[in-house]
Symmetry: C2
């Protein structure tokens, strides 16, 4: 019973996410965002509150899209061990080429804002725990089915995999390592499952 929006907030959030992903939080000005989102200031502040709230929405959108991709691999039926392997190799692929250059939005947010921003700190910690749990569950299944060394602690191992794959391989990409270099390191990471 009022004038409808002329833009799609979901699509606009997507554009904002891409902009933040490319340039980081501080280096993306509201003007940049308006241009990328094809919005004017009134619509921007009326819909999204302010820059910070939009950033958190962009984090949600990023996680939504990427966690879905990862969970599809990790939680598929069949070999748990192969699922872990494919997940690590998927990250390795994300760490080279164009996608690798951009890095991971969540990691960028953590480095740029986490020490001082309590909202972002909470958000990141929540995601990290969730991811640990997802991987630990796959490991437990692999242990139950005899594919993974049953003497390993699933939660510690999940932490290891998450840190080395999501953190370590990303670091290689910032050092502009070749796809082959990244794959070689990924293989060593996976050896820990034996």
């Amino acid at each position: 019973m009022a004038r409808p929006k002329e833009f799609d907030p979901e699509l606009a959030t997507q554009e904002a996410m891409e902009a933040f992903w490319e340039h980081g939080y501080a280096a993306t000005s509201v003007n940049d965002l308006l241009a990328e989102m094809n919005l004017n200031r009134g619509s921007f502040y009326g819909t999204f509150g302010d820059k910070k709230q939009l950033f958190l929405a962009a984090l949600d959108k990023y996680d939504e899209q990427h966690s879905e991709e990862f969970r599809a691999v990790l939680e598929r039926p069949g070999s748990a061990r192969a699922a872990i392997r494919d997940w690590v190799m998927m990250i390795a692929r994300h760490c080279t080429g164009e996608a690798g250059r951009r890095g991971c939005l969540i990691a960028k947010a953590a480095v740029e804002l986490l020490p001082h921003d309590k909202d972002v700190a909470r958000w990141i910690q929540r995601m990290h725990r969730r991811n640990e749990r997802i991987i630990a569950n796959v490991l437990k299944r692999g242990q139950a089915e005899g594919e993974i060394n049953p003497r390993l602690d699933p939660l510690v191992m999940a932490r290891y995999l998450l840190a080395c794959a999501a953190g370590g391989l990303r670091m290689l990409s910032t050092a502009s390592a070749s796809p082959r270099d990244v794959r070689e390191v990924a293989e060593i990471i996976l050896k820990a499952l034996d």
Copy 2:
């Protein structure tokens, strides 16, 4: 044969480094720097050129101080294997408590500036290659002395250790993992040397 500076440029660079380390590049304004360095604008621009040049100088200073600490452990005489182990555990210690909260200035610089800043990109790549070389040399020595599996490729292994220790453990610290969590993951990383 002219008026001498009233401040110590080295000390001022140190203060600038701490400020950048704490808040990142973009979020540290020139005004912030002036306050931390106890300088006025004229002296600042006269001595350091501009914000960006000062940042590169701060990176140098950071590397100078920290690489010395790491090399002292890595290149000491005695067991190469123990040296690698102590180095990883030293990083683990750096990833908890107050130091862990701040993270690593170089990693922060990489994430914040690398995709778009060619100067920083070059700087980071140079450092990364140097660090790879240092670790690979220790690994080679360990292999020659029969302490480390001789079938491992020293350079690949160096990349692995650097990525997982300097990149992976740092990630745990951003997720505010406990010292014990970090140590457990560090132990798994070191298992790859067997």
